[in-house]
Amino acid sequence: MMSSETTILNYQALLNERKLCAAECPSCKTLMLPPRLFCTKCHKRGTRWKVLSGRGKIRSFTVIHIAATTHAADAPFVVVVVRLKEGPSITARLIGVNPLKPEDIKVGASVVADFEEASGPTSDQPDMRLVFRPYLVHK
């Protein structure tokens, strides 16, 4: 999969292998997440996958109390925008925190990517879904 075209479909296929990847421009090294076919800087096609560490910090977040029909069973849940160590940001759920204590979730806190099976009525073979967890330093 790592040599596949940097399409959204293949991004999901890589998530299914528990790999969080960005598209990288071989010319100017711009990293793009969500992945793109064409470099945002030099507009060249031929970007390639680069596996990311999954480490990052919370830029902002919310707790969804009233969800769309398809996610209603999960509410309340936390959604975070995370700035990854390598530069790009990504939006995903934050697990391992109490959604009823949003005051305990801090902008700037360290998180790490994880993967869980996406449930939902539309998926026959469930995809893996990117999520984040608090990154705990064990002293």
Partner: protein
């Protein structure tokens, strides 16, 4: 410089309209604008109609010909324009460009949305499709959730408070009391606003604009022809639009809207005006935080000062910078595809001294700020008294 004027405006009451079909709502607004301009439907040469998603809300695509036919304008070119909640401001822009091209002399710009045909969860789901479905709606973020993320970032950066958010709702409900076409014509207290049910933390129900049905329409002509139709046309002196990436995650800042700032800069340049020259503005308060960010993006207040400004009453009618005399999306209602033209109608009324008890004293220049979706679109129009 734009050389187009508004010579007629019409609007339905905003709210729940189980009694009317989409085309019926449209025809009431369109024929209202046509009557006010003193023309007949046959005089209209082209129409641009804003609508977010009749496809999902009403099981109906291709609404533009249906709308004009139903309102007596069968045969004219009719195009639907869509840019989420900024749909009708983009329809307005397309109409302005059509007039500026010289190909048409009288053009209708309108917007219509009937959201209440779907049950509430369906509305939430449809609105979420105006965010990037794969990368943001699928993880579960809703439309209120998008603006909640902006609110958290704004609070973190500037110390903006939930009380300041609530102050937006309180002010806009107070203004809507004097707008007979508003969905909610009653005041609310700060306590009530703050104690409402949580939707997407930190935004409660009273931080959110409602689910609405409605339509709005304006008749546009070139400014040099405008006095043929009315003694008090309203000049459009700037019309700009900008876009941004859909995804929150792909943006440099989460406490401002790049598309709004870009469109505002271009609008001020086009009108040869500064933010201080704007007497009043209708801004896109789909959520309370959006009004605070808007007043900063438009240069009315410094970044981070939008919250304190509303809390101190600086945006009340007649104060330093009057914002949302109509009641805003929050209290006037937000039939998404109709909102941009409804904002323009408020400018039209204010600049003709026809706004009744919500009239801004000595208003010469007004601005309309219409944001689409997650902020991926923004269109800005500046209007001037004749």
């Amino acid at each position: 410089m734009i050389n187009v004027s508004v010579v007629g405006a019409g609007q339905t009451k905003f709210g729940r309209h189980p009694e009317y079909d989409l085309r019926e709502l449209f025809s009431i607004a369109a024929l209202g604008a046509i009557d006010e301009a003193g023309i007949a439907p046959e005089d209209v040469e082209a129409a641009f109609i804003g609508n977010l998603s009749s496809d999902r809300f009403n099981d109906q695509c291709h609404i533009a010909p249906m709308m004009v036919d139903f309102a007596g304008m069968k045969g004219i070119p009719a195009t639907k324009c869509e840019a989420a909640c900024a749909s009708s401001a983009t329809a307005l822009r397309a109409a302005i460009l059509a007039l500026e091209s010289g190909l048409y002399d009288i053009v209708l710009a309108a917007g219509v949305e009937k959201m209440s045909d779907l049950p509430t969860p369906g509305v939430i789901e449809t609105l979420a499709k105006a965010a990037d479905n794969t990368f943001e709606a699928t993880p579960g973020i809703t439309f209120p959730g998008i603006f909640a993320v902006l609110a958290v970032a704004h609070m973190h950066k500037y110390g903006t408070t939930r009380e300041q958010l609530a102050a937006v709702a309180v002010k806009n409900h107070a203004n809507a009391v004097h707008n007979p076409l508003a969905q909610y014509q009653k005041e609310i207290t700060l306590e009530k606003a703050l104690s409402s049910r949580m939707v997407a933390w930190p935004l409660g129900l009273f931080d959110c604009s409602p689910i609405s049905d409605g339509a709005a329409a304006v008749i546009l002509v070139r400014t040099k022809d405008a006095r043929k139709y009315t003694d008090a046309p309203v000049k459009i002196i700037a019309s700009t639009q900008a876009s941004d990436t859909m995804n929150l995650c792909d943006r440099d800042s989460l406490s401002t809207l790049y598309a709004a700032k870009t469109a505002a800069q271009k609008a001020y340049k086009q009108a040869k005006l500064e933010p201080r020259d704007i007497d009043f503005a209708e801004v896109h308060d789909c959520f309370t935080i959006a009004e605070i960010i808007a007043t900063e993006d438009l240069g009315f207040f410094k970044p981070g000062q939008g919250g304190p400004a509303v809390e101190q009453g600086l945006t009340r009618i007649g104060a330093e910078k009057t914002i949302n005399t109509s009641g805003g999306l929050k209290a006037k209602g937000h039939p998404v595809g109709a909102t941009g033209i409804s904002q323009l109608r408020e400018l039209y009324l204010q600049l003709r001294n026809e706004a009744g008890k919500r009239q801004v004293p000595d208003a010469d220049v007004g601005l309309a700020h219409n944001v689409g979706g997650t902020g991926a679109s923004c269109a800005i129009h500046i209007c001037q008294r004749w």
